[in-house]
């Protein structure tokens, strides 16, 4: 599969140059300027990342490079591949380059593969469209080899599978196989791991690295995740409102950022060295791309903005110092005054909890789960349903949430976190075991008692857009629970005002509809609604993962502040483990419906005992390029087994890196007995469910270095 430019593809050579790229979409309300003046050089063997929030123009830029915008979208500037201009060329010419010289990996692997063809056929198609001389059999052999390269087990068989038979991680591997099929000079990866679990994300990023090593391609990585950027990128371009605002080597951008937006963005991500540092909240949202303000688009959100910033927009990123470009009037001040996020952005006020001084053992227990199981029947057949098995979604867990604390459930998708939450919210008896909420066993409740208990237990869901009725104004949304519990109209009005103030919304927001609010504001409305009835427990189901990075910190801070002010207890489910470390007091790690480790968050993160916890923590990308580079990872093989057929004994043994290194005799325990939670290190509230907890830190690949890098000096 050699392409003519192979000879010239030496590491360090620029293969693709983007200069002053502009992308403008037509719309009913006028032109939308999605990309305004992007310039980039992609170098063979290097990874360049474009970081930005949704709407910053990063994906529009990628599609413009691929020439995949529909006609009607205006693309100007220059995109040249090894000296050949691509903009303005015909679809015929571009089709010869696409997939051959420039390949792309898309975000959502579920929808990015055609559902009606086998994975193998789709890779074969990618090969044969550029190599018409190749026989079908030869292309099929090559497709299997490619699937093997990206780590699909049993590739010859899996090539005949359809996309729906693949897990998310496997689909993304197949996408990468397709992208490297013709040995491209450039691979564009648009949010390649956004929809995946951290463990699978780590695997896929590893495959992407291998693909790059194999092809020597220049990789353009588009993402909003600063941790992923730190681990992958050599160079970084930060985009804001269609503009490149900062560009430089990863080290420069992460360690010596110049643009206040970058500074703030870095401050919004929890950092493992300083878990207790308050997060910067970047209030506001990017300007509308329809009517950009005259000055710098970031000026309305920038504490450093001056009159000049509001009047004149700085040119797209231009050189500031060697290897570092920036588009900011205040860059010089940021550098000379050594302004870091805590100096630029206001430090949020987080109220201390009134219960802070009280030892945990003396606090009330608000939620207790004793040996809770939740099993679902597995059925088959569309006309005649019959039971063919059982899904062990939650299989015997104990949990205890104390007053004023945050308990986080973490684990991969399918581990039973959400089932546990929903089981508690249901206030109905589980398949087995007892759920006690505020001292009341839910299986004994009658209708009235259950309704009364609902007041005390409220929930905030992941996607604020989906959980707010688009036809109701904010007032009605917040007033609804009050109305349901028979508040007087006058009292409701007063309470809604209080709640808006509590969650940091303006009084005039009451008449707005959800679609007129930003994502962060919508989530604030959801929080206000949850707090309307003064609950004692709030269940948070991925409260920030649907939000843009810059507003996540604002919500995290708000939740922390509200907990202190109102003495709330939180039961949190989150897949962002860095956020969990920041906001939780205790953490329970779930795997296949069981808790494999629990304890105080600092103990679990700093001294993880269970091999699964170690792997999970080591998969978290850290927003620090130096730390990421020096990190050894515990990569888990494959996907979690299905909860319908859990393995015998220890549920984790099929993927356990320690199990692989145990002797035959030692393994017997793992295969036969399901380990229970045992106290670790003599600390009575840090427990792990592993037969060989004591052995783990000494096992190769699971030693402490692999987990959570120590702060760099």
């Amino acid at each position: 599969m050699s392409s003519p430019d192979d000879a010239g593809r030496t590491a360090g050579r620029t293969v693709l140059t983007v200069a002053d790229l502009h992308v403008t979409f037509p719309s009913e309300d006028g032109p939308v300027h999605a990309v305004r003046g992007l310039s980039l050089d992609l170098v063979a063997g290097e990874t360049t990342a474009i970081v930005g929030e949704s709407g910053s123009g990063k994906s529009a830029a990628a599609l413009a490079i691929m020439g995949l915008h529909p006609p009607g979208v205006r693309v100007t500037g220059s995109v040249s591949l090894s000296g050949t201009e691509l903009l303005g060329t015909s679809d015929a010419v571009m089709s010869r380059l696409r997939g051959n010289d420039i390949a792309m990996v898309f975000q959502d692997p579920l929808s990015a593969l055609t559902p009606v063809y086998t994975v193998g056929d789709q890779i074969v198609e990618a090969i044969r469209v550029h190599n018409p001389g190749l026989t079908a059999a030869a292309a099929a052999t090559r497709a299997v080899a490619l699937l093997d390269l990206v780590g699909i087990p049993d590739p010859a068989l899996r090539a005949r599978s359809y996309p729906f038979e693949f897990s998310g991680g496997m689909r993304q591997r197949a996408m990468i196989a397709m992208a490297i099929a013709n040995d491209p000079a450039v691979i564009i990866a648009d949010e390649p791991t956004t929809a995946l679990d951290v463990t699978v994300q780590a695997q896929v990023l590893e495959v992407l690295r291998r693909a790059q090593a194999e092809t020597g391609a220049a990789v353009l990585l588009i993402t909003h995740d600063l941790g992923v950027v730190a681990g992958m990128a050599d160079r970084v371009t930060v985009m804001y409102a269609g503009r490149p605002v900062e560009h430089g080597t990863a080290d420069e951008v992460f360690h010596r950022p110049l643009m206040p937006y970058t500074v703030g963005l870095l401050g919004t991500v929890p950092h493992p060295d300083a878990p207790d540092r308050p997060l910067t909240s970047l209030e506001g949202s990017p300007p509308s791309p329809l009517t950009p303000p005259p000055g710098c688009p970031f000026a309305p959100r920038c504490p450093l903005a001056t009159a000049l910033c509001r009047e004149a927009e700085p040119d797209p990123a231009r050189p500031f110092e060697a290897g570092h470009e920036v588009a900011c009037h205040r860059a010089r001040d940021v550098r000379t005054d050594r302004l870091t996020y805590d100096k630029v952005f206001p430090v949020p006020r987080i109220s201390p909890s009134p219960l802070a001084g009280l030892p945990r053992a003396e606090r009330d227990t608000v939620i207790a789960l004793h040996g809770v199981r939740r099993h679902f029947p597995r059925t088959s057949g569309s006309v005649f349903r019959r039971r063919v098995g059982t899904v062990y979604a939650v299989d015997g867990i104990d949990l205890e949430l104390k007053a004023g604390e945050t308990l986080a459930l973490v684990g991969e998708s399918g581990s039973g976190k959400t089932t546990t939450l929903l089981g508690i919210l249901d206030l109905a008896a589980p398949t087995d075991g007892r759920i006690v909420v505020l001292g009341k066993d839910v299986s004994t409740l009658d209708r009235a008692a259950r309704t009364a208990l609902r007041r005390e237990l409220q929930v905030v869901f992941q996607d604020p857009t989906a959980s707010l009725d688009p036809r109701m104004p904010v007032f009605d949304l917040i007033a609804e629970p009050l109305d349901a519990f028979g508040y007087e109209p006058g009292r409701i009005e007063q309470r809604v005002d209080e709640l808006l103030d509590l969650v940091g919304l303006e009084p005039d927001h009451v008449n707005r509809y959800p679609q007129q609010l930003s994502g962060g504001q919508r989530q604030r409305v959801c929080i206000a609604r949850a707090l309307a009835l003064e609950p004692r427990v709030v269940v948070l189901d991925e409260p920030v993962s649907a939000l843009d990075v810059s507003v996540r910190a604002g919500i995290v801070n708000l939740l922390a502040d509200l907990q202190g002010r109102l003495g709330l207890s939180y039961l949190l489910v989150a897949h962002d483990l860095a956020v969990v470390r920041h906001i939780a007091d205790r953490v329970a790690v779930m795997y296949l419906g069981r808790i494999v480790e629990d304890g105080p968050v600092a103990d679990v993160y700093d001294h993880p005992a269970h091999p699964y916890t170690r792997a999970l923590l080591s998969a978290i990308p850290i927003p620090d390029p130096a730390a990421e580079r020096g990190r050894a990872r515990v990569l888990l093989a494959g996907d979690p087994p299905t909860p319908a057929e859990p393995p015998s004994g220890c549920p984790f043994r099929t993927r356990c890196p320690a199990f692989a290194q145990l002797s035959e005799d030692q393994r017997a325990a793992c295969v036969q007995d399901t380990p229970g939670l045992d106290v670790v290190h003599g600390l009575n509230d840090h427990r792990s469910a592993c037969h060989y907890t004591g052995l783990i830190p000494a096992i190769r690949g699971l030693d402490d270095d692999a987990v959570w890098p120590r702060p760099t000096a």
Binding site: A92, P115, V116, V129, F164
Partner: protein, 327 residues
């Protein structure tokens, strides 16, 4: 798969039995076969009518359950669906009409599907262009005009053309007419008679299917996998045909299998205007002529059509969509 099919068919048989039995009861109670003879001149004596009715199993003096059992027994043991109040065998009637409908409907709906899918897919790729808007307008026009108007208009146009040219290019009454003496004349004559009703059925079928196909196609065109196909290096046309159209055909399969089956009885207007003595017209005529056994037979026939359609559409979807086949 075989077991699944057998169970499915057994399920259908029960469903059909219930539907047909209910229709028998309803028709026997509501229709009055005696009235067919009431306006005869000279008047037919009541005893004669009663005698005929008893012979045909339609007498009101025989208890309903007894009539039902007789009728059911005839079907089960002799495959005899009874007679009309005038003594015409329902079996004979259906044996002829079924093939008339089949010729008409099969051709019309197959062409309708092909044209509808093609037009729908094509307009989707040209969304909001002049051609898309024109086709949309025409399709909506055809959908909103009642089919008998459309059929009548087509005959008027045909007459005009025939008159203007002086040759009977178009034939539009019945299935056959004056057959010429040249070789193959009989076939030509039949095709001539089939032409206009087929055009009408094709137009109405294609118009509504094109709307559905256009929407399905628009979804498919905006999907990520078409973008992936383009990113692999497929030209626009090929990406659309191989990826967008192929996937957008899955729901069409369900819809089409179902409509074709129901068309057998549903094209009464077209049959009426062009004087095709098919099943649709039989349904209307049977009610008009107080034909209890006829209407029950038509119900049974259309029931079989609908269930066959349902089965076909399930099989077609399984064939088109691996997620259904293997999932």
């Amino acid at each position: 798969m075989i077991r699944y099919l057998v169970r499915r068919l057994a399920n259908y048989a029960v469903l059909l039995f219930v539907a047909v039995s209910l229709t028998f009861v309803l028709a026997s109670v509501r229709l009055d076969p005696y009235s067919v003879y009431s306006l005869r001149t000279p008047p037919v004596p009541a005893e004669t009518i009663e005698g005929l009715m008893r012979e045909y199993g339609l007498s009101h003096d025989v208890p309903l359950w007894q009539r039902y059992l007789t009728w059911l027994g005839d079907i089960l043991f002799r495959w005899d669906w009874g007679t009309s109040p005038l003594g015409v065998s329902v079996n004979d009637e259906i044996a002829v009409r079924m093939w008339v409908s089949l010729r008409l409907v099969l051709l019309g709906s197959l062409l309708g599907i092909v044209v509808g899918v093609a037009v729908g897919a094509w307009t989707a790729t040209r969304q909001y262009t002049v051609s898309d808007r024109v086709v949309t307008f025409l399709a909506l026009l055809v959908i909103s005009v009642p089919v008998f108007v459309l059929a009548t208009v087509s005959t008027i146009v045909a007459i005009r053309i025939n008159n203007a040219t002086g040759v009977d290019i178009f034939e539009f009454t019945g299935e056959t007419g004056s057959v010429g003496a040249y070789p193959g004349a009989a076939l030509v004559d039949r095709l001539q008679h089939l032409f206009l009703p087929t055009v009408v059925l094709t137009l109405t079928g294609a118009a509504s299917l094109s709307r559905i196909q256009r929407n399905l196609m628009l979804d498919a065109l905006g999907s990520d996998y078409v973008r992936t196909a383009r990113a692999k290096g497929l030209r626009r046309g090929r990406a659309i045909r191989r990826h967008a159209l192929r996937t957008a055909l899955v729901p069409t399969g369900t819809y089409v299998a179902f409509t074709v089956a129901t068309l057998f009885v549903g094209s009464a207007y077209t049959e009426r205007v062009f004087n095709f003595r098919g099943m649709g017209m039989y349904a209307v005529d049977a009610i008009g002529s107080q034909d209890v056994h006829g209407i029950v037979a038509v119900t049974a026939f259309s029931g079989v059509c609908v269930l066959t359609g349902a089965l076909l559409s399930d099989l077609l979807v399984a064939l088109l969509d691996p997620r259904v086949r293997l999932g």
